[in-house]
């Protein structure tokens, strides 16, 4: 699925990285624990999380994750936005829970890692 299709499927709002919406994502991982995200060895995955802070972006930078969905209506502040833009990431805000987003995208064909 393209990032654009992912955002539409979950009623997400793209906050930055619009130029990358045509990129294709095959795998996703849902976690609020950044140490678990750092254990993921596949690249180009979608991260679904309820943790909206600078460490979400830093962790994604180290893990080469370029697209993050923030669940439960978590808001992205300007500090987070600026670090994400610096790293060329796509950020998507979404009103749904991690469970619902994961279920929707799983049904749509996005693969789990484990």
């Amino acid at each position: 699925m393209t990032i654009k299709e992912i955002a539409e499927r979950i009623n997400g709002r793209v906050i930055c990285g619009e130029e990358k919406l045509s990129e294709v994502i095959e795998f996703a991982f849902s976690s609020d624990l950044m140490s678990d995200v750092l254990k993921v060895d596949r690249e180009n995955i979608l991260l679904i999380t309820g943790l909206a802070n600078l460490q979400t972006i830093r962790t994604s930078e180290m893990s080469d994750i370029n697209c993050i969905v923030f669940a439960r209506n978590k808001k992205i502040n300007s500090e987070i936005l600026s670090l994400a833009e610096e790293n060329g990431m796509v950020l998507i805000e979404c009103p749904h829970s991690v469970f619902k987003i994961s279920g929707e995208l799983y049904n749509a064909g996005i693969n789990p890692l484990y």
Binding site: D32, L33, M34, S35, D36, V37, L38, K39, L51, N53, L54, Q55, T56, R58, T59, E61, M62, S63, D64, E79
Partner: protein
């Protein structure tokens, strides 16, 4: 080549800036991507540990043709029982650290998995010294 960085304990908004700088350096040096990723993940976890537990820390990076050595020396409470701290799930992290998405007791095991040699020494009440060595050729492990 040698590089040196400072880490300020408790400065949560800057946790990860050293690992980010090192990632850029390794990219410029054309270090193998998989090797570079292991190095920056281990360094990032170690950096978060200093921010979370210590008052201040110094990171020294030493790169030669064969390997990269990271030495992190902090002034802080130290680790009274290193084998216990290495156990996955053991944590003394504050609620503030948990709010950052860490503090589940996985940092040291993540570090161990992502470097080839790990040496930790600590003096309780004074500080901790972490040495991480990673071989730069993927098949040298």
């Amino acid at each position: 080549m040698q590089y040196r960085f400072k880490i300020a304990g408790g400065d949560f908004s800057n946790a990860g800036t050293v690992a980010s700088s090192v990632k850029k350096i390794l990219r410029q040096l054309n270090i193998d991507h998989g090797v570079s990723k292991r190095i920056v993940i281990a360094l990032y976890e170690a950096e978060v540990n200093v921010v979370a537990h210590a008052y201040s820390g110094i990171v020294e990076i030493d790169i030669d043709n064969e390997k990269l050595r990271v030495t992190i020396t902090d002034q802080g409470p130290g680790i009274p029982d290193i084998p216990k701290a290495m156990e996955e799930g053991f944590s003394t992290a504050s609620p503030q650290v948990r709010e950052m998405g860490f503090g589940a007791g996985m940092g040291l095991s993540n570090i161990k998995r992502n470097c080839d040699i790990l040496n930790i020494t600590s003096e309780p009440g004074a500080g901790t010294n972490v040495e991480m060595i990673t071989y730069l050729k993927p098949d040298a492990r």
